[in-house]
């Protein structure tokens, strides 16, 4: 127990060391000539202030006395029923960015109501196959000017997880958030037999004040478990992840899986379905966001990867609606258009740039 206490204290000490430079760098006001003039004017007006003396430190209590008090307090605590403070819900934060919509997690999730459609059924798991994709992500500001462009990649490759045949889906996306140029890497393992999630790792660098944030997830039963850690500075053991993923709200999609998921779904002109976008699940606000999909039309669409006959889907989040084009031939995502904030922050668009079997 003592070792555990020592470890906790050491962890806190490391945290203090890590934040000290930032604490010292918090801006403070500069003294002004006006303040000096005010001081001199007060003196001239005979204003007087009696300043306190810096006090001499009091001697410490003897350790034995402290120990005796601690024992007495411990005994008292055993007699008083304990109360537990409710943990912070973190309702004002979200963490994940997304292939479908990075703002999705900023919206209040409507987890229970509003599910008009049946859950998406991944009825053709064998439709997923090894493939390498290049996706072009473009951000136009409210005036239509291109302000950021990056090339994302996504690779599906065979793998084995604890003896189970699986697909390893790796994606790399780049983004500009504030003044940070971020790279997000996701590796997702799904079972080949039914595309259920087996394991997931997300790394974002840099993230906020950290050089890198790491999210490791496993998917036992109907839950997601794992841990979030950081590098530069490290927050030590990080934060545990343990959230339930209700089966009835699935299937769950991630940034890496989103462009591929509908390859396993037979879609026609009247198709509809509900699913959920999985977040990092570190905070309660970022576990998942339900989405609602329906076919809104069909179009022949030209993107850098070629010209394809597509289904145009409307994808609804709690906070709005985006458009998604998928190839009729195999269900692969071809284009995503997010115009929800077109008049303010601008338009986000992701298009398929290259497909390598």
């Amino acid at each position: 127990m003592r070792r555990g206490l020592f470890r906790r204290r050491r962890g806190l000490s490391e945290f203090a060391d890590a934040i000290r430079p930032e604490l010292e760098a918090v801006p403070t006001p500069e003294p002004t000539d006006a303040l000096l003039e005010r001081i001199l004017a007060s003196r001239a007006a005979s204003v007087r202030v009696i300043l306190p003396e810096p006090l001499t430190p009091r001697p410490r209590l003897p350790r034995r006395l402290i120990a005796a008090i601690a024992i007495a307090a411990g005994a008292l605590l055993m007699l008083v029923p304990s109360t537990r403070r409710a943990p912070s819900t973190g309702e004002d934060v979200f963490t994940s960015s997304g292939f479908l919509a990075r703002e999705a997690f900023a919206q209040p999730p409507d987890r229970n109501g509003g599910r008009r459609f049946a859950p998406v059924t991944l009825a053709r798991p064998k439709a997923l196959h090894p493939v390498a994709l290049e996706l072009s992500r473009r951000l136009h500001n409210a005036t239509g000017q291109l302000v950021d462009e990056s090339v994302d990649s996504l690779v599906v490759a065979p793998a084995t997880v604890e003896g189970l045949p699986a697909w390893r889906i790796t994606s790399r996306s780049q983004d500009v958030v504030g003044d940070q140029h971020r790279v997000q890497d996701e590796t997702l393992y799904v079972a080949r037999a039914d595309l259920r999630f087996l394991a997931r790792a997300v790394h974002v660098a840099p993230y906020s004040r950290f050089d890198r944030i790491n999210v490791q997830q496993r998917f036992p039963g109907d839950s997601v478990t794992g841990r979030m850690t950081t590098d530069g500075p490290s927050i030590g053991a990080g934060r545990p992840i343990a959230r339930r993923l209700p089966r009835e709200l699935g299937p769950y999609l991630t940034d890496a899986f989103a462009p591929l998921a509908l390859m396993a779904v037979p879609v026609d002109a009247t198709w509809t379905g509900n699913a959920a976008l999985l977040g990092w699940a570190v905070v309660s606000r970022d576990v998942f966001v339900p989405i609602e999909m329906r076919v809104a039309g069909e179009e022949r669409l030209t993107v850098p990867a070629g010209t394809f006959d597509c289904w145009r889907l409307s994808i609804r989040f709690a906070g709005g609606e985006i458009s998604y084009w998928m190839r009729k031939s195999d269900g692969l995502g071809v284009r995503v258009l997010d115009q929800r904030n077109a008049a303010t922050t601008g338009t986000r668009e992701t298009v398929l740039r290259r497909v390598t079997p």
Binding site: I19, L23, L35, R38, L40, V49, P52, R60, L61, G178
Partner: protein, 182 residues
């Protein structure tokens, strides 16, 4: 781990006659001390009070009362640390007065925090601001200003153990705040 004091130029740069003149109430000497020390003292007060106006009031009071206080000042060669202690005490007294007469103010930082862009992380300044004044005072005095727990205990009129506990709680709260933001 003991923190090194923030570096300050040796006090011998403030010549003894400047201090003596200031003790006699010379405006020029007071202005010289203001030029030398006001930035650091304003920073101490601001970190404790989280308000520019309050911090300026504290520094105003310190310099207005300085000539009389200097007549009692005997810690030669350590004017800077002595002034920081005095300023911290004046700021803490103001903090206690504020708690005794609470006012409702528009917390601009809180408004900004709740309205911030989704991807904008909580700044350490906001995390510091969210601490209770008791916890913030110990964190500021120990981790930024480099005072010992014994000195902080004397300033706050609490035991050394209480100061240590408050620092522990402040760091836990800061860490929780900053991790919740991830």
């Amino acid at each position: 781990m003991a923190l090194p004091r923030r570096s300050e130029k040796p006090d011998q740069f403030i010549e003894a006659h400047v201090v003596a003149d200031a003790a006699r109430g010379s405006p020029d000497a007071l202005a010289a001390l203001y030029a030398r020390y006001a930035r650091g003292l304003l920073a101490v007060a601001y970190r404790l009070l989280q308000s520019r106006e309050d911090a300026e009031d504290v520094v105003h009071d310190v310099f207005v009362g300085l000539p009389e206080a200097l007549r009692r000042y005997e810690e030669r060669g350590s004017l800077g640390p002595w002034l920081r202690k005095v300023t911290a005490r004046v700021a803490l007294m103001r903090l206690r007065e504020q708690r005794a007469r609470p006012v409702v103010e528009l917390d601009e930082q809180r408004v900004l925090a709740s309205a911030r862009a989704p991807d904008t992380a909580l700044t350490i300044e906001q995390a510091l601001r969210s601490l209770s004044p008791n916890l913030r005072a110990v964190l500021v005095l120990k981790e930024i200003e480099g005072f010992t727990h014994a000195e902080i205990a004397a300033m706050l009129d609490i035991s050394v153990g209480a100061s240590e506990v408050r620092l522990h709680r402040a760091l836990l709260a800061m860490r929780a705040q900053m991790l919740e933001d991830i």
